[in-house]
């Protein structure tokens, strides 16, 4: 009897996971396609797509290097409309260089960099959007 219940649990979890998995991939793909419109010429993509599933007040982050002499465009998206993702740019010492929270959650922002710096990009869901979970997509473009 116990074995049957365990098997049922496993099957249930597997189905939930599989369903969630497909829905998540599909959701992220759609968001990434929407976000792509913010990184167009004269900006060139850095060739990568940064994604993370977020729940409630969780935040996601990654490190990158911005080279001197270039202008970068950072685009952040979640959901099907703009303004659902709050992104913040820090230097390596965690000084805040920019947050779109103080710019009406702008979906993209440009950064003119005169001297190369290592930085950290942090993203979290906008609590005002009413979404308790979602896929966060960050894209980076540059122009020389």
């Amino acid at each position: 009897m116990r074995k049957s219940i365990s098997l049922l649990k496993f099957v249930f979890i597997f189905i939930i996971g599989l369903t969630f998995s497909k829905a998540s991939f599909s959701q992220c793909d759609t968001i990434a396609k929407i976000c792509n419109k913010h990184v167009k010429l004269p900006f060139v993509s850095d060739g990568q797509s940064y994604r993370s599933l977020l729940l409630n007040d969780q935040s996601a982050e990654f490190q990158t290097t911005f080279y001197g002499g270039a202008t970068y465009r950072l685009a952040g998206c979640s959901g099907l409309t703009d303004g659902n993702l709050i992104f913040t740019l820090y230097d390596k010492d965690r000084n805040v260089l920019f947050t779109n929270a103080s710019q009406k959650n702008a979906p993209y922002w440009d950064f003119k960099v005169s001297s190369t710096l290592d930085c950290i990009i942090e993203a979290k869901l906008n609590p005002a959007s009413g979404n308790s979970s979602g896929c966060a997509v960050i894209l980076i473009g540059f122009k020389q």
Binding site: F20, S24, S45, D46, S49, L55, A106, K112
Partner: protein, 298 residues
């Protein structure tokens, strides 16, 4: 709480586990871990325990642009042979060389070497097909590529978008390690350009750019190591040796308050980084880069 950007598939696993907890199938009788210790923060969701990390590796195209701006002439000898694409028989070799050919394609396009660029695009397409990312490098893209020959910016944008699409596809299909190898290959090729160019045309900017790779090389080591693939061990070892050569490069960072121009949606980063890299350091890094690249493209 914060966690790193990581492959989506791991998020899915975590959320599957979360669904297990939500449905009451969790370890309700034993709240502690296997050592009998209580969790430090019982309110924290399990997602914070995932330690997958994704690092951003700057585009190889940017380094190629800097090289052209330095006044260096085009040099075909710097590139991998497109005909060698057929020689790469494993996913490991193919992925690394897809990165290499992508950087070569960027270099050729920046120097407007359009006819040669077509041959490299064919190599990229061939390897892309073999790696199962044909949708990113399909016939449609090939036609757009040919139609835009001569429009440098459009070609660079097309190729970069295709690499971004393949990166997204690989992450979604539980093949992030292939994407990581592509990034590593592209990075090696672009630094190979920079170190080789310095031998014929000294440039302080290019020399500094080499020094500025200190963080990127560490990121590549961590990224490759995160997959725990024994077949990557030798490559990781080589990158670790390379990373050690960057250790003594001095980078002095000074924070300066940025200025924002709201109407232009622009922030000017005023902070400064001073790089101190000696010709001897450049030489040892150059030798190591050449050695790693040789092992990739042979």
């Amino acid at each position: 709480m914060a966690f790193k950007f990581f492959p989506l598939t791991r998020s899915v696993c975590v959320l599957s586990i979360a669904s297990l907890l939500v449905t009451g199938c969790g370890p309700s009788k034993h709240e502690g871990n296997e050592h009998g210790e209580e969790p430090k923060d019982s309110a924290a969701p399990p997602i914070v325990n995932i330690n997958g990390q994704i690092f951003s590796i700057p585009s190889p195209v940017q380094t190629a642009m800097l090289i052209q701006q330095s006044g260096a002439s085009f040099s075909k000898e710097l590139l991998n042979e497109p005909s060698k694409a057929a020689n790469y028989q494993t996913t490991y070799d193919r992925a690394l060389n897809l990165g290499v050919y992508g950087a070569d394609l960027g270099y050729l396009t920046i120097y407007s070497e359009n006819n040669q660029a077509l041959a490299f695009f064919a190599a990229v397409k061939k390897i892309g097909d073999q790696l199962g990312i044909a949708s990113s490098f399909d016939e449609k893209l090939m036609k757009r590529f040919e139609a835009n020959i001569g429009k440098k910016d459009s070609i660079i944008s097309l190729v970069s978008d295709a690499y971004r699409a393949s990166d997204a596809y690989l992450k979604d299909s539980k093949r992030s390690e292939v994407g990581a190898l592509i990034l590593a290959g592209g990075w090696i090729e672009s630094i190979h350009f920079a170190t080789a160019i310095l031998k014929t045309k000294p440039s302080q900017e290019v020399q500094n750019r080499i020094g500025e790779q200190k963080t990127s090389v560490n990121s590549i080591v961590k990224l490759l190591a995160s997959f725990k693939k024994p077949e990557y061990d030798n490559l990781i070892k080589q990158f670790k040796e390379l990373s050690a050569l960057f250790e003594n490069i001095e980078m002095k960072y000074t924070f300066v308050e940025p200025t924002t121009q709201v109407e232009k949606q622009l922030t000017i980063i005023n902070s400064k980084t001073e790089v101190k890299i000696t010709p001897e350091q450049v030489q040892t890094i150059s030798d190591k880069i050449a050695s790693i690249r040789k092992s990739i493209v042979q």
